[in-house]
């Protein structure tokens, strides 16, 4: 279970709070969605959970299975099962996709992955996400299109087998076919890993046609203002956030 309790945070060199008393509990197998206007702290939330160096926690806690992760380095959070699918994955020249993923896999599992089976698994995973197998040997995300970067994120997810997946605007930069492919891969992953939970950050409900949410939350001014089901997302798309006060919802969701 991933619990975020009364979390307030700011950027490191500024005490102005971005998240304010934010609380959310994600149980095993649940799919949660966070929507909200630009600048309300959606991506900040994702990065703070992962331990990004630009943010500091002012108050509150983040717990995995009852244990606080606030004092853990980023890599240890990943080993706890967290995976952040980034909005704009960074390119790293000179570090090949396969070398990176194999090192990550070794680190997560704590044992050396057999090279032959790793290559076979990677080729299969690349076919699954419709990436050309030659990309295995290319520098990490270097020269990849926006869609290829997102597919590469899902490829990493399939390999590293996380328990808590955060998708930060997965749908940005993806064409309709690519969106369908990555969502099919996520759904297949969720089916075979029943205890896996999903936190989806998005602006558009289109992705929710593929990834069916249990809860949709509206984030405003750094905290959850409304919670509902998928219909809340469609209402927002139709009427905008300005109509949010007229929507019914469970304000006290936790």
């Amino acid at each position: 279970m991933l619990e975020i309790k009364n979390l307030s945070c700011s950027v490191v060199d500024n005490d102005i709070s971005i998240l304010n008393d934010f609380s959310l509990t994600i149980k095993e197998g649940e799919v949660h969605v966070i929507m909200g206007p630009n600048g309300t702290g959606k991506s900040t939330l994702a990065k703070v959970i992962m331990g990004h160096y630009k943010y500091k926690v002012l108050d509150g806690d983040i717990l995995i299975d009852g244990e606080s992760i606030l004092n853990l380095d980023v890599d240890l959070r990943a080993k706890k099962g967290l995976f952040l699918c980034m909005q704009d994955p960074i390119s790293i020249d000179g570090v090949s996709n396969s070398e990176f993923l194999r090192t990550a896999k070794n680190s997560i599992t704590g044992s050396k992955t057999n090279l032959y089976s790793f290559i076979q698994d990677m080729e299969q995973a690349m076919r699954d996400v419709c990436l050309d197998s030659s990309m295995m040997h290319r520098s990490l995300n270097q020269g990849f299109s926006g869609g290829e970067k997102k597919k590469n994120e899902i490829l990493q997810m399939k390999f590293l087998k996380p328990k808590y997946i955060i998708l930060d605007e997965l749908d940005s930069g993806l064409d309709v076919d690519s969106l369908r492919i990555v969502c099919e891969n996520i759904n297949n992953y969720m089916k075979t890993n029943k205890d896996c939970s999903l936190l989806i950050i998005t602006h558009y409900p289109r992705i929710l046609e593929y990834l069916k949410p249990d809860y949709v939350h509206i984030l405003k001014d750094g905290s959850i203002q409304h919670t509902g089901d998928i219909n809340l997302a469609f209402d927002v798309e139709k009427n905008g956030y300005s109509s949010i006060n007229n929507l019914s919802g469970d304000d006290s969701f936790e």
Binding site: D75, F100, L160
Partner: protein, 192 residues
């Protein structure tokens, strides 16, 4: 490429001179050395790719001059260094095209990573005396990006493993390298 040369230096102070008459790649690796290189590209249409990768613990410098001595000649320089301690590292990287030689390409890319608080300087110099030449230079001095480290660590890599991958990528920056020729240099990377 017609010729591929490997040069490896360790704890030395050396001068090199090359007259390039056919397409050539030079992979030059140095550990804690001060190096001066003088290159003439002699024949028309010849291409030179020069990779200089170095690891430094003491004060060192690297100086290179590439003279384009015929038309349609092409030089690409990739100069990458790591400054491990609080030492000084200086690059002087010079490309020269005289007015008689048109259609040349003269490019250079220079980077120094300071792992601690070392002092580094790069002087990229292009002396181009012909209007019909493509020429570019870039220079970067700094640390490995925290954003890259965050990305790598978010996949479970330790900070140490992330640095090791970044250093390998930075200092072995060509796909066609023959690893058997630079075993000592590769070992040195893993010691950093």
């Amino acid at each position: 490429m017609n010729k591929i040369l490997y040069v490896v230096d360790s704890n030395s102070k050396k001068d090199y001179h090359y007259d390039i008459t056919s397409d050539t790649i030079i992979y030059h690796f140095s550990i804690n050395s001060t190096i001066k290189v003088d290159i003439n590209i002699i024949n028309e249409g010849v291409q030179l790719y020069y990779y200089y990768n170095n690891i430094n613990y003491d004060d060192n410098s690297f100086s290179i001059q590439v003279h384009h001595l015929n038309q349609s000649t092409h030089s690409e320089l990739f100069i990458h260094g790591v400054n491990v301690l609080k030492n000084r590292l200086h690059y002087n990287v010079e490309g020269i095209v005289d007015k008689d030689f048109s259609n040349c390409i003269c490019n250079q890319e220079n980077q120094i990573i300071n792992l601690k608080s070392g002092k580094s300087t790069i002087c990229p110099i292009l002396k181009i005396d012909n209007y019909n030449v493509d020429s570019n230079h870039s220079a970067y001095i700094g640390r490995f990006s925290e954003e890259k480290l965050f990305y790598m660590m978010s996949r479970g890599l330790t900070r140490k493993d992330s640095y090791r991958l970044l250093l390998n990528g930075f200092l072995l920056n060509s796909d066609s390298l023959d690893a058997s020729k630079i075993v000592d240099f590769t070992k040195e990377i893993n010691k950093i």
